[in-house]
């Protein structure tokens, strides 16, 4: 017997079936292919490819970039979400649209913006050159482009959550004598921490995986300004398939670890999450 609000079993199975087929075909299979291509000539070959100095340098660069870009975007994201959701001010909806800008702009353009500003022929190019500051084709440019592309993740995750929660709890904390900092760390942060975590994980995944914007500003100097995604492309174009897929596997693995971590935390703290979300 099915309940009055349940769909026909056929409809249910069809929906579930379509979803599963889609996930397997378009998400799971490519992932498996990446790993199998990497291990085509055995674990040894893949391991050797990862030990290549250029590969190690690309992994290092990717991690350093994420280590700078993600914390900064976390702080900016929280600040932006706080401003948008807890205060009323003129131009608020405009600001919200601007936060979304990196999502709607092609990553290539995101990279070009920085070339136009900081590049040799750019606005600040001559000045930077005089003072011997390298931004384009160097780490600062890569970090800037990554930050631009990943800026919305944390803010986007938090804005609906914080808007929904309203200002009541902060006002209560204030009337109970809590300072701004204490209110933030004891009331606001704990109530958004799961959304924040999710935003940070997404932001990190994208920061490590970003190709387009970084490709424009990096200059593709092997062993110096190639991040992992760029290094994968270089190897692939050189017909070094095992090496290319080995590095790609590490990237995919990072994504899987991120997902597993998130699922684990959700499972581990299920009660607490439910308590925060129920009204």
């Amino acid at each position: 017997m099915r309940g009055p609000t349940e769909d026909h079993p056929l409809a249910r199975w069809a929906l579930v079936g379509v979803t599963i087929v889609f996930v397997v075909l378009f998400l799971l299979l490519p992932l498996v292919t990446v790993f199998s291509a990497a291990l085509e000539k055995g674990v040894g070959a893949a391991w050797e490819a990862l030990g290549d100095p250029d590969a190690i340098s690309s992994i290092k660069l990717t991690v350093i970039t994420a280590l700078i870009a993600v914390p900064l975007n976390t702080v900016f994201g929280v600040a932006a979400a706080w401003a948008v959701s807890k205060y009323d001010f003129r131009g608020k909806s405009l600001l919200t649209s601007f936060i979304d800008l990196p999502f709607s702009v092609s990553p290539v353009i995101s990279g070009l913006i920085y070339v136009l500003i900081f590049g040799l022929q750019g606005w600040l190019g001559p000045w930077l050159r005089e003072h011997d500051i390298k931004i384009i084709f160097a780490l600062p440019g890569i970090v800037l482009a990554t930050m631009f592309v990943t800026f919305p993740f944390v803010a986007r995750e938090l804005i609906p959550l914080m808007t929904d929660q309203g200002r009541d709890e902060e006002e209560a904390a204030m009337s109970l004598g809590a300072s701004g900092w204490k209110t933030f760390f004891r009331v606001t942060l704990p109530s958004i921490k799961w959304g924040l975590l999710y935003g940070v994980l997404l932001c990190n995944a994208r920061a490590m995986g970003e190709f387009g914007a970084v490709s424009v500003v990096s200059g593709h100097i092997r062993g110096q300004t190639n991040t992992m995604p760029l290094h994968v492309e270089v190897l692939y174009n050189d017909y070094q398939f095992v090496a290319a897929f080995a590095v790609a596997s590490v990237l995919a693995l990072l994504a899987l670890v991120t997902l597993t971590l998130k699922s684990f935390l959700e499972w581990r703290y299920a009660d607490e999450i439910a308590a925060v979300h129920r009204h």
Partner: protein, 242 residues
């Protein structure tokens, strides 16, 4: 030690007037109800008393200090919100202890003292043994009593209640308001209570201010207001809601 509100005005951001010169005097320890339809400015007035909103002009004196000059977090005004505003991620006990735990180290009671105080307050609001629950595990009436205990924990100089029973069913409302009045009789804290329910206002308050469109239409003892409505609006408002 009385509460003197003098010609307080407030405009909303859009320019609409929320309060157009509100004046009111209440003796120390009084229980004042602000009664009126939604949009009459009663909640705005309460929020100004609690320091959650600024007044544009006018003054408030309480216990002989310029009350509006005291920052919200230093007023020790226990504010109880319509939707409780409990900290969802904290247990009931942690909620109640919050106001004590966030004090600067010098004036913060010891951990044992805080625990003792929480226990007393839980008993006071008849929630003994529920300290380890989360707000989401409580009924509406219980949550509002937690909110009240949390406000009382800071030994408030003034208690401000914004439609505290608005989200509860009629039976619980009635029980809680009787209980609240008894609590007030025992503690004697100057209390301002916002409601749109005249029966509630007349049942709990010593003084009732009927508000309409940012003004006080009539202010006096419940019997007086009931017996002799001062304006056409008061007459209509009291008549319509019976």
């Amino acid at each position: 030690m009385s509460l003197v509100i003098d010609s307080v005005t407030k405009r909303f951001r859009g320019g609409a007037a929320a309060l157009q010169g509100v004046s009111l005097t209440a003796p120390q320890g009084a229980f004042v109800a602000l009664l009126g339809p939604s949009g009459s400015g009663k909640t705005t007035l309460l929020r100004i008393l609690g320091g959650l909103d600024f007044a544009d002009t006018g003054s408030v004196r309480f216990a002989d200090v310029n009350w509006l000059g005291v920052p919200a977090r230093e007023r020790r005004a226990g504010f109880v919100f319509q939707h409780y505003a409990l900290f969802r991620h904290m247990t009931v006990a942690k909620n109640i202890a919050f106001g004590l735990e966030v004090r600067p180290r010098r004036s913060r009671p010891s951990r044992a003292d805080i625990a003792l105080r929480v226990k007393e307050l839980l008993a006071l609001v008849q929630l003994d043994g529920l300290g380890d629950r989360y707000p989401s595990q409580l009924s509406g009436g219980q949550r509002q009593r937690v909110a009240l205990a949390r406000a009382l924990a800071i030994e408030p100089r003034m208690l401000l209640l914004d439609e505290p029973f608005g989200a509860l069913d009629a039976k619980v409302r009635k029980e809680l308001r009787i209980w609240l009045r008894e609590l007030h009789n025992r503690m004697g804290i100057t209390t301002v209570f916002v409601t749109h329910d005249q029966e509630e206002a007349f049942a709990v308050a010593d003084l009732v201010a009927v508000m309409n469109q940012g003004r006080i239409e009539q202010y006096g003892q419940p019997e007086t207001v009931k017996r002799a409505p001062g304006t056409a609006f008061v007459q209509e408002f009291l008549g319509a809601a019976v």
